[in-house]
Symmetry: C2
Subunit: 234 residues, 2 copies
């Protein structure tokens, strides 16, 4: 029993021939080591949990692709689930993943995430990374874009090209993503000496789909109100 384990993990404790004999037999009978039993004993997991809002949005599917490849390179598998804008579902998923013994978590939190979401991973010392949308006022590791800067760059681009009015369709209001981009836009307007009224600001669920389509065209949620802009979808 123990010897087989030593053979599989190549601990160097066994003689060349004993090890080879064991591996040969294992190969022949199609043996695959039970990673769960292993984790149960050692506490080391080969699973990384990933919770995103959706995976249909190309931004997120590219993210999934990259995460999965990085995980594979590190010898991990990804447990993927989507929270569908539902904080309750998000929490259930996180608990399910902990139940499955994930060794680490990557979460892009939904709007309305409660402050205690990460308590479960924190208590168990499961390394957790928050991405895309931040969780303010919490102890966490965050990876994401500088939303403020992106809004600023987008608005500046429009202004530089002679546009004086624009519309901001950022999806859900009062998220850190939305607020950051909006602030960036307003800053750009201010620096150009334009009144903030020149940017129509819209937020809400119904606009999310529109914004999504806009994002697909590479405009990051900012759409130009002038109908002859070469960068905007027809």
């Amino acid at each position: 029993m123990a010897t087989v384990s030593y053979a599989m993990s190549d601990s160097g404790r066994l003689s060349k021939e004993t090890r080879k004999r064991i591996l040969d037999v294992a190969e022949e009978m199609g043996y695959i080591r039970d990673g769960n039993a292993s984790r149960l004993r050692t506490g080391h997991s080969a699973l990384i949990g990933v919770i995103l809002n959706t995976v249909k949005n190309p931004f997120f599917s590219e993210l999934v692709a990259s995460l999965e490849m990085a995980a594979y390179d590190g010898g991990y598998l990804t447990l993927l689930a989507t929270a569908q804008n539902d904080p309750v579902r998000q929490k259930k998923l996180l608990h399910s993943m902990i139940s499955q013994g994930v060794g680490a978590m990557i979460i892009s939190p939904v709007h309305g995430t409660s402050n205690d979401l990460l308590a479960a991973t924190a208590r168990r010392k499961i390394p957790t990374v928050v991405c895309v949308r931040d969780l303010p006022n919490q102890e966490r590791v965050f990876v994401g874009a500088d939303e403020m800067k992106s809004g600023y760059l987008a608005a500046s681009h429009l202004i530089k090209n002679g546009h004086r009015s624009m519309t901001f369709l950022g999806g859900y209001g009062s998220t850190s993503t939305w607020t950051g981009r909006k602030d960036g836009i307003l800053r750009a307007l201010g620096e150009a000496g334009l009144p903030s009224e020149n940017c129509q600001i819209r937020a809400g669920t119904l606009l999310a789909d529109f914004a999504y389509e806009t994002m697909r065209w590479g405009l990051l949620g900012v759409s130009c109100a002038a109908h002859d802009c070469r960068l905007c979808p027809k």
Copy 2:
């Protein structure tokens, strides 16, 4: 010990108050049952493994989204990985998933998949579904489109709209997908009394990206050679 287990699974063996007391304490200390240990004992897993070629292609990301939602509704989590057109990687992934104790597998096999891929799941009686691309001459469950019919419909559409020549860019040649679509196109040409030379047939790795872009435009790998077709990308 045993009593806690009974409380969690609500077997009805415990008195109302004992159960409630246990659940309260569990809640308070943030207890989450270890699904792996459970699986180890019972053999029942809450994991469904999914192996696709890629997840960047919108066709597959929509598939992932649907699979994940269905899994969630059934109380399962999805273990997702991409084979990246690499049969070796595909096999390693499958073994990793078995090692993680998946209860079922869903695979869209890569081109060049060896015949013994599913031997590992078969031996362990892990229910396995092959999708999108078929594995001919094997005992398996397959779910996918009628490729022949889709090629036929696409070519018929072009012919009906007055086009007499076309190009088929189907990506990798000699896959069941490619062959099916090609045969459908040729059948449509035949029925219209057109020679098969009227369809340029191209296959190969370099064309895969082109075909992918074409698919994004909703043309399912069939592109019209006439440059004024309203349906084709500009």
